[in-house]
């Protein structure tokens, strides 16, 4: 199976603080991978490096064999953990922006999902509720036919019904030949859809395994193993 992501000995320092410390990991094509770790473990830093928003202090990151750059940006569909859409735009304008810049964007699919939520095309993004803004962001990201979906904390801070909606949207819309990297610390909600997991603690990869191996080897669910590994 080919690798879509390879990180080798990646270190990221902010001053004298290590956000990532000699972290190495791989993500295979066609897999849904959970990037799991407690708050401050370095998940978001890792994801930002994958997307070229941060540069590593040391080490190398390769996306389909290429360093983060213009080509990898057209391959990755990224959902950050912040409200990142241009708030002054209307729904129609932001959809047209995605259509203009991403060749793999499926406009009809995006509108179909937006219509189902009752989000109007002429509505300004800043007038949408927090929940609808998050759904809107997810819809735009999942409407791309990308090689790699990178979703940073997609289910954090939302109610259980929205959580189900988000997970359903991810599963129903991603290209099965693509990979999905989901960062979260809410494992029980997402465990059933994961193929592989990567545990991160204090900027280091402490475990990379398939979900089946964890169940077979440890006789535990991923959630239980997580609680054990990251127990205080």
């Amino acid at each position: 199976m080919s690798e879509i992501v390879r990180c080798e000995h990646v270190t990221k320092r902010f001053g004298d603080k290590y956000a990532l410390n000699d972290l190495s990991l791989t993500v295979d094509s066609g897999k849904i991978v959970g990037l799991l770790g407690p708050n401050g473990a370095g998940k978001t830093t890792m994801i930002k490096i994958l997307n070229g928003l941060l540069t590593p202090t040391e080490g190398e990151v390769l996306i389909d064999g290429m360093k983060p750059g213009i080509q990898t940006k057209s391959m990755i569909s990224y959902l950050p953990d912040v409200e990142y859409l241009y708030h002054w735009m209307t729904v129609e304008q932001i959809v047209s922006l995605f259509r203009d810049f991403y060749k793999d964007f499926r406009e009809e699919l995006a509108y179909e999902m937006l219509n189902r939520l009752g989000i109007e095309r002429k509505a300004k993004l800043k007038t949408l509720s927090k929940g609808n803004k998050e759904k809107m962001s997810l819809i735009l990201v999942m409407s791309r036919n990308a090689r790699l979906y990178v979703l940073d904390e997609p289910i954090a801070g939302v109610d259980p019904a929205t959580r189900d909606y988000i997970i359903g949207t991810i599963i129903n819309n991603y290209n099965p030949e693509s990979s999905v990297l989901i960062s979260t610390h809410l494992i029980s909600d997402i465990e059933s859809v994961l193929d592989d997991v990567i545990f991160i603690r204090e900027g280091r990869c402490v475990l990379q395994s398939t979900v089946d191996e964890i169940r077979g080897q440890y006789g535990k669910s991923v959630d239980d193993l997580f609680r054990e590994v990251f127990a205080w």
Binding site: G15, G52, L54, T55, S74, Y78, F101
Partner: protein, 274 residues
């Protein structure tokens, strides 16, 4: 891709600046209407007229300042705030982002100047406007009879210099903001620090250059060179002015290029989006 970026950057500027520019034209219209009541208006007319002139002047200054500020704010917000998460994950290069921001800023700078020109025309429609254009025509005619074709060249060189200087000053601000984001905290403070640092360095460098020039001009062998340059300027004032304008434009363009290249390098290799 630059065209697509420009399309969205243009909209982001337009929604903020169009109302301001419409207000400037509106105030100019009010000023012109006030002038209708000039005959037999008395002191009340004078107060209203002067007030509307002051208001128009303030509106013009506000329009220029807002255009300048929005040029900076849109660069910072679009590339180094949360919006940067989207901007920097679009499949476009850092150079394309810089070009788009610069081109749109320049379009609106020119647009604001045009708006002010239009406002002056609206406020002076009629006899005053005709007198103004007559005076301007006379001045240009006098200048043309003395300078001939050089007048057109001076106008072109002056406009190009103004455009290059404006672009370069925005690129300097982009450069400072880009340097500022290299640190993890107090990014804007560092950007201000870098900006004033560059300004101070420029002043110090210029002062040293002037002192050095004065010292050298009074000592052999530079004394003869300075003298022959001085003689050439006196003998060929038109050519020396052309040389000054063109060389000034080129030097400003070189500085702008350096600011552009460093900003591009930071955005490509040292992005630090927090």
């Amino acid at each position: 891709m630059v065209r697509k970026l420009i399309k969205y950057d243009f909209v982001s500027f337009l929604r903020l600046l169009l109302p301001v520019q419409l207000i400037v034209i509106g105030i100019a219209g009010v000023n012109r209407i006030v002038q209708i009541f000039e005959k037999g208006g008395g002191p009340a007319y004078s107060i209203v007229f002067v007030s509307s002139i002051v208001l128009l002047s303030v509106a013009c200054v506000v329009a220029l300042v807002m255009c300048f500020v929005i040029g900076i704010v849109r660069f910072y917000q679009g590339l180094y705030s949360k919006e940067g998460y989207l901007s920097h994950t679009l499949p476009v290069t850092a150079a394309q982002h810089l070009w788009s921001k610069l081109i749109v800023t320049m379009i609106f700078e020119i647009g604001t100047v045009f708006t002010i020109f239009l406002a002056v025309n609206v406020a002076t429609i009629g006899e005053v406007g005709a007198e103004l254009y007559k005076a301007l025509g006379y001045l240009l005619g006098q200048a043309f009879s003395y300078l001939h074709g050089h007048l057109i060249l001076f106008i072109v060189e002056g406009v190009v210099m103004l455009l290059v200087a404006t672009a370069s000053s925005f690129l300097r601000i982009y450069f400072c903001i880009s340097i500022g984001q290299l640190v993890n905290r107090k990014k804007i403070l560092l950007a201000f620090g870098i900006y004033f640092g560059i300004y101070m360095l420029g002043q110090i460098f210029a002062t040293i250059l002037i002192i050095l020039g004065m010292v050298l001009a009074n000592n052999e062998p530079w004394m003869h060179l300075a003298e022959s340059i001085g003689n050439w300027v006196v003998a060929h004032p038109v050519a020396s002015l052309h040389t000054g304008l063109i060389s000034g434009t080129l030097i400003t363009a070189v500085f702008g290029l350096v600011y552009f290249l460093v900003s591009r390098a930071i955005m490509t290799r040292r992005l630090n989006l927090s």
